[in-house]
Amino acid sequence: MSDIAIKIENLKKEYRLGTIGGRTLNAELQSWWARKRGKEDPNLKLGEDYGNYGESFLALKGIDLEVKKGEALGIIGPNGAGKSTLLKILSRVTAPTEGDIWINGRIASMLEVGTGFHGELTGRENIYMNGAILGMTKKEVDSKIESIIDFSECRQFIDTPVKRYSSGMYVKLAFAVASHLDAEIMVMDEVLAVGDAMFQKKCLGKMGDEAAGGKTVLYVSHNMATIRKLCTRCIVLQKGQIVFDGDVEKAIDVYMENATGDLLTHYCFDGQRRSVPERGRELYLHSFDFLGKKIAKFSSLEKMRYGFNVEGFEDIDNVRVRLEIRTVEGTNVGMSESSDSFCIKKGERNDYELEYDISNLAEGSYTLRLTLFELNDMGIHKGFDESTETIYFEIVEDESNRTNWFPQYWGRVKLPASTIVACKRG
């Protein structure tokens, strides 16, 4: 039994819907008096009714989990799945509504770096402050301070108030303190998305060492690359429940399948908010379709055919199409601009059909963003309108063309092949 670090049984967390807190005593009394007399609550927002107020929402619906010592457990899932709630309960920021957690060993939670940093204090003072908040005694910090300062790469500025630090330095210092905690269990919430690339690598290395050195790590992230690198086991949370528990690659697959949804072929952007208000004024993108498909799943050998419906509010001559392609995890893959352009007259509403070569995209799930733009004589791009929803599509390797592609090493783009142009025999 003693090799278990964390044991969670039937963990539930309930939140009340509607406004809680922030209401003044007076408002509370008013509402209570109105309800008592059967009148309408003067403090409810329009459209809200009594049914909604005070109704509850289960953020976690009974989680059972056992984490062994030395395990690096990744927690993934879409937004609102309950990942952060789980971490908050584990780090005792808030209490569960039901259920039990047993923890063996000291737990260090890094839900945020630099908690308790005060701008007026120097770097050194903040190391002590932050260390104490994270549960270190002064003695412990004393013995580690040199190593912390070295790790933070801020030795030169260590006696300067941190309000003069660049944001990068600030975060480096904060992470340095947190990573020197002597806790047996580390709970982390995407704190790695900080600092420059070199520092990120260093942090990952440090965390990897710790996991290898027998520490238990719980790590929440949307970045599948770091989950792959760091974790030995992974759970997928969805709507407050664990839907998968086990192998990291499989977990990522499960998450991706859920994330891409049904791979729709039709998207409608009518009436949706644009990223900037100017978009959609001269030209309006009504809808987007993948053509000739029931679901947006393509073989790498076929061409992707897509179409969109667009309405002109002015005469525009030179409209081009830009596609931005990303992986579902959010990594940028590339951008493509159409070689042709079209013109549209005021009052017209046309359907366009296009074809796109996807043979150099590796197998996997992608997202697409479409922008209609104009490249004027001065070489300046002017965007007219864009897809407001994320468009998902998936590429599967054709049976006849199966090369084992390892996206974790090779990325997502199949670059052009090299050719041998000369050979000098020796």
Binding site: I20, T94, W102, L121, Y128, M136, T137
Partner: protein, 278 residues
Amino acid sequence: MDFTTHIKAKNGWFDINLKELFQYRDLIILFVKRTYTTMYKQTILGPLWLILNPLITVSLYALVFGTVARLSTDGAPQFAFYLCSNAIWSFFAVCITETSTTFTANAAIMGKVYFPRLVMPISSVITAMLNMLIQLGILIIVMIGYVMSGIRFNITWTIMLVPVLIIQTGLLGLGCGIIVAALTTKYRDLVILVSFGVQLWMYASPVVYTFSQIPPKFIRFYLLNPMAPIITMWRNAILGTEGISGIYWGISWGITVAVLFIGIVLFSRIERTFMDTV
């Protein structure tokens, strides 16, 4: 099983882990230090304000209540009298106002990391106590000045009670403060009420006047105010002015303990879930 921590949905109604609180003593000290090092950054006079602040307040009291209103100071020199009263009262008042914002002012830290929440109010009380000791130092210097100019203070064995009175005031302030803190997580009105309440409370306590000026028929109600015996005994101990019956002090202690107890119960109930409501 040998698990070190057990997180459960509901705790007992009096669930304060004193051992854990003790383990975090370094954090308490650091919070106190932080308050001092950051308080007067980028001010010209800096820590001098710690001395100027009470001196200005006390001069105003002496002007308004002593010279204009001519309230009795029971034979003590006016300046020493008000300095003495203000030291203990401002300690108490700061305890309440500072601890009452524990949850709301520190939501950012508390929402991200766990430490015993009582660390915050306790460090506020300790900070206030240090400020009070500075005022006490000023008072001693002023009193030495008076003695050298020939004024006698009738100091007796009651001077030994000074530390006890300081501790009692701290506990009472902490108790009141954390009751308000627990309630402000839901009702922000109390934050505004606190500053009014503390001012009212000051006039209901013998800070600028003496206990003997209370009409006898009000004494019974007046004793519901636990600060009244404390302030009177405090002045008696330091300046040698009139004292008060030990029974009154006993009642005051009873109320102090009750308030602190209710405070801790409320606080330990709220601290577990306040992040969801604050």
